[in-house]
């Protein structure tokens, strides 16, 4: 028994020295990489492929009991971060769910498979449009924009594939790229559906990247989108909101200019 724990701490020390972001508090220091840890990590890794949130409870069968799972889960989180650059982010609400988010955006679309690239492009366009509209856009306006670009969501598209509406309403929302909200002013009104950036989009894309993309798309200087940038950052950081409230007054004006530029594409 004694020798096992000596080996365990020796192995944990190796793990410690390999990683750079290991917390210094005694985070269950005796946990070694055993087959349960491997099973949990591999489960998370392969379920992260389709980007759908992982339910914590689904990990239960992989460990002996709740306690063992929670101890190993901490180690798995650290391993994912230090060895794969994957962060496990907990989503709001119950039951407990997590998403795997890469520590950095892809450097090129070659890191994606051929099947993923069209979706990525479509997502980029949608996120850019939402960003330019102050991070809040009604579904019919979004679909109108896509239709104008030649990608009618109700029709099959040569590049983006069939069922674009399912991709947007279902897949991107489940993957946490988009947030889809329903609001109804009164029982007599039609419900309004609006889209905004989801948690994953906020982690995996930067507003700066979107501004770069928009400036290429509209052939405008990046400074042209300064107000939208300030507004978006202000919404994320309310203390900056005062500065950006001034920008918000000008957003509509600059948006209609960019919309005009968009129309002329």
């Amino acid at each position: 028994m004694a020798s096992t724990s000596r080996n365990a701490s020796r192995r944990t020390n190796t793990t410690h020295s390999q990683s750079r972001t290991m917390p210094t508090q005694a985070e269950a220091p005796q946990i070694e990489i055993d087959h349960q840890v491997r099973a949990i990590l591999n489960y998370i890794l392969c379920h992260s492929a389709n980007k759908v949130p992982i339910k914590y409870n689904d990990l239960m069968p992989l460990a002996d009991n709740k306690n063992e799972l929670s101890k190993r889960f901490v180690l798995v989180t650290q391993l994912l971060e230090t060895r794969y650059g994957i962060r496990l982010v907990q989503l709001e609400g119950t039951p407990k769910r997590y998403v795997c988010i890469a520590e950095a955006p892809v450097a090129s679309t070659y890191e994606l498979t051929a099947a993923q690239r069209p979706q990525f492009t479509l997502l980029y366009i949608i996120l850019t449009y939402i960003f330019l509209r102050g991070n809040h856009i009604e579904e019919d306006k979004l679909y109108g924009m896509l239709d104008m670009m030649g990608a009618n969501v109700r029709e099959e598209h040569g590049y983006f594939g069939e069922n674009i509406s399912k991709l947007i309403e279902d897949t991107f929302v489940k993957q946490q790229y988009l947030k889809r909200e329903r609001s109804q002013l009164s029982p007599y009104d039609d419900p309004k559906i609006t889209y905004s950036w989801g948690l994953r989009a906020k982690c995996e894309f930067t507003y700066q990247q979107v501004v770069q993309f928009a400036s290429k798309l509209f052939d405008q200087d990046e400074a042209f989108f300064q107000q939208q940038l300030m507004l978006a950052e202000g919404m994320d950081n309310p203390e900056m909101l005062q500065a950006s409230s001034l920008a918000a007054d000008n957003t509509d004006a600059s948006f209609s200019e960019s919309q005009h530029a968009f129309d002329s594409q």
Binding site: V37, R38, N42, H47, A49, L79, R83, Y110, A114, Q116
Partner: protein
């Protein structure tokens, strides 16, 4: 450089199987972005990959190069060590779709020469009496996906086991298809195609026998003079 290694690892996991062309396409912008020198020569690249593999080996994963005997091309394969087809790493697939994968693997494993005609991939399939077998279009989509992932390989209108299957299911194939899939007498790894001895019929890796025949002239299995041409 660590960020580059991790990003490259994530890309490898995403693709599951990469050829050298794809590797370059990924590494060039990645290294540029992080302003590090891209591993240029083959040895440097192998070192780079070995470093990454060192971080995942104890987690039952492997990342390494393998040369596929049919195309002669080298592939970088990410695999789960000693996986089996039923523990498929394919969440989001129905049970029938997973069965389809096992069916294909089974068909290939049972063939003496481990390949089938492309249309055999859609016929004589056993879905264990399920009422919801996948439609042909879906099977075609899945087959294409699995081929891109390296589980299968298409060449000359025939379907072969791909680089990832050979690496990942080495143990599974060895145990379940011991009649058709044997190991090479020289390197002890599984040999599926390559070349056969004209006398005893045992398969052997072309590269292995080529090296061996530099100093000997008989078949390592039956001992008779090696008569088969090593053409290619």
């Amino acid at each position: 450089m660590d960020m580059v290694k991790r990003a490259f690892l994530r890309a490898c996991i995403n693709h599951s199987c990469l050829d050298h062309d794809q590797i370059d396409k990924i590494l060039i912008p990645l290294c540029e972005h992080y302003q590090v020198t891209k591993p240029a020569k083959k040895e440097a690249l192998h070192e780079f990959v070995k470093d990454i593999e060192g971080t995942i080996k104890e987690l039952s994963q492997s990342l390494g190069f393998m040369k596929h005997p049919i195309t002669g091309k080298e592939y970088l394969v990410f695999a789960i060590t000693d996986a089996t087809p039923d523990k498929q790493n394919h969440p989001g697939l129905t049970a029938e779709e997973c069965l389809y994968f096992s069916n294909l693997l089974d068909k290939l494993g049972q063939q003496e020469d481990c390949h089938i005609a492309w249309n055999e991939a859609y016929s004589d399939l056993d879905f264990k009496g399920s009422t919801k077998p996948p439609k042909k279009l879906r099977m075609q989509t899945l087959l294409q996906l699995w081929t891109e992932m390296g589980y299968f390989l298409e060449a000359d209108d025939r379907l072969y086991l791909g680089p990832r299957s050979i690496v990942e299911f080495e143990f599974y194939l060895r145990s379940n298809y011991a009649d058709t899939i044997k190991e090479c007498a020289l390197c002890k790894q599984l040999v599926l195609w390559d070349i056969k001895c004209s006398d005893c019929g045992r398969k052997i890796h072309r590269d292995c026998i080529r090296k061996y025949l530099r100093t000997r002239s008989n078949c390592p299995t039956c001992g008779n003079k090696w008569a088969t041409r090593l053409s290619q």
